[in-house]
């Protein structure tokens, strides 16, 4: 072997990444070539110098700062997402969005997602339940409430997504779009890949029950106590006008329980009043989940394509930033879908019999 050939192999030779054949040739050459021997020694020395470089002192605050930024990340996305929920009606919705944003920002990430949804629901329920004096209106509202109840009124991330799925609307509610609340819709440039990687069904178990009581507040307190004692996530919201019951006489508490705990919890609830047998209500999140996953895959590809590109223009940089933000929001959305699916939801409607 000639010097040039040997020198090309010296580096992998040091790392034992040369073949037996190559080793033999190299070593045979080295025996009679001073220059190549010298170069080998220089390389070895260089490698050990690099290896001996002191590890830099890691600043103490690093873990703390990372912790803080992770929490900020979570809270920021939460608030942003809440503000971008599908609007029900013009100015009311805008006001609610503003409130949700303010609440979201003020809230620590320890607050379960459910309670923010409850706050949201609170506001809209109040608006809906406002002065409807005529009996027809009460019944109308009850009918509507019953319908949304069956679909899963717990305003999930998707809302009324099942309709928009078919329309190819290309606007799953989870899609974050950068910019302000009223930014014009920006369709992603490539169509969402439909179910490239089909996923297994994502189902949320939901049970609904009623508790009849003589003293609403007392019972609500008991129910909350049960949640505390059992270590359950819960949230409390104003009641709904439902099946002839006035909102003012009802309150709703929603629990998140492990499937195994359900029986035990229902038993405990007996102490708060007359408990109706729970009605099962499976909500399928698979379509939503698939949609988010597909969107993530598409965005990921687009982001990678742009990042691999050596020289990006200003527009491309902006686009890249937008794509990354979208991707971000999708990931969080998926996170939350996962969370939703992992526990069983128990909705407890407490109501006080009104005796005229």
């Amino acid at each position: 072997m000639r010097c040039e050939q040997v020198r090309e192999l010296l580096s992998p030779y040091i790392d034992q990444m040369t073949s037996e054949k190559e080793n033999q040739a190299i070593e045979a050459h080295l025996v009679q070539c001073l220059e190549c021997r010298r170069e080998l020694e220089q390389l070895k020395l260089l490698c050990s110098m690099l290896n001996d470089l002191e590890s830099p002192q890691v600043p103490e605050n690093l873990a703390q700062d990372i912790h803080r930024r992770l929490r900020e990340e979570k809270t920021k996305i939460l608030a942003f997402r809440e503000a971008r929920r599908p609007k029900k009606s013009g100015w009311i919705a805008a006001a609610i969005a503003g409130l949700a944003l303010a609440v979201g920002i003020g809230v620590s990430s320890l607050l379960p997602v459910g309670s923010i949804m409850a706050l949201w629901q609170d506001k809209t329920a109040e608006q809906d339940a406002k002065p409807k004096v005529a009996i027809e209106k009460i019944l109308d509202a009850a009918r509507i409430a019953m319908n949304t109840d069956n679909k899963g009124a717990d305003d999930s991330i998707g809302g009324n997504n099942s309709a928009s799925n078919q329309k190819g609307d290309n606007k799953p509610a989870v899609t974050g779009q950068t910019g302000k609340l009223n930014a014009p819709e920006k369709n992603s440039s490539s169509p969402v890949n439909v179910a490239e990687n089909p996923i297994k069904p994502v189902i949320v178990q939901e049970y609904a029950t009623r508790i009849k009581t003589d003293n609403l507040n007392e019972s609500v307190n008991k129910v909350i106590q049960i949640a505390d004692v059992s270590g359950l996530e819960y949230n409390l919201s104003q009641g709904k006008t439902v099946q002839g019951l006035q909102a003012s006489n009802t309150k709703e508490v929603t629990f998140k329980v492990e499937a195994a705990q359900l029986e035990g919890v229902l038993a405990k609830l007996e102490s708060a009043g007359q408990v109706a047998s729970p009605v099962e209500n499976k909500r399928e999140l698979t379509a939503q989940y698939q949609q988010v996953q597909d969107k993530i895959n598409t965005l990921d590809k687009q982001v990678n394509a742009l990042e691999e590109k050596p020289g990006r223009t200003a527009e491309e940089e902006a686009e890249l930033a937008d794509l990354k933000a979208d991707l971000n929001n999708c990931c969080v959305a998926k996170e939350n879908l996962d969370k939703e699916a992992s526990k069983v939801t128990l909705k407890i409607l407490l109501f006080e019999e009104v005796n005229h």
């Binding site: 090309e8 010296l10 580096s11 992998p12 790392d15 990444m17 010298r38 170069e39 020694e41 220089q42 390389l43 020395l45 260089l46 490698c47 110098m49 690099l50 290896n51 470089l53 002191e54 590890s55 830099p56 890691v58 600043p59 690093l62 873990a63 700062d65 990372i66 912790h67 930024r69 992770l70 929490r71 990340e73 979570k74 990430s109 993530i296 990921d300 990042e307 050596p310 020289g311 991707l327 971000n328 990931c331 998926k334 996170e335 939350n336 996962d338 969370k339 992992s342």
Partner: protein, 193 residues
Amino acid sequence: MIAEEQLVKKSLQGDTQAFEELVLIHQNKVYKLAYRYMGNEEDAYDMTQEAFLKAYRSLRSFKGDSSFGTWLYRVTTNVCLDELRRRKRRIFPVSLDEPLATKEGDEVEKEIADTSPTADILYEQKEFSQYIQNLLNDMKPEHKTAIVLRDVMELSYEEIAEVLNCSIGTVKSRISRARNVLRKKMDDRELLP
């Protein structure tokens, strides 16, 4: 490591605490890597945070076909290279320290005045480390990453291939080129026997 698998699994399910445990496990190494890429503490600090944030956001893209640490190094490498590219594109008045690109594509320091240390000054480890770091700073990105990952972080060729998303053959040649660039420079200054 089985415990780490659990942490990754939990993190994927949204458990931020689990992710933060992963941060604790890997932060020193990530910082070390970022430091050698960026050349100074401040940038290393910032880039380490960015790397972990990005890892957090794109966790679902971790397929488990490499170790979590290797994947983290990949994220860190990309984050740092992105930042370095970004800085290069800014139009700054030419600084004295910025290297010129020669025809061969190697970057050499501008010879305003030869202020680089001679052998006797480099007895102090600190000065020597700084000298090496300066050499690294001047390297082309593909060389710098290869040599840092191999000789500073001591990754295997396979792991480096995963981090850089290239073939082992490419890793071999990049390491070889990088080492020779450094060797030549040091040899020119008679810092090697």
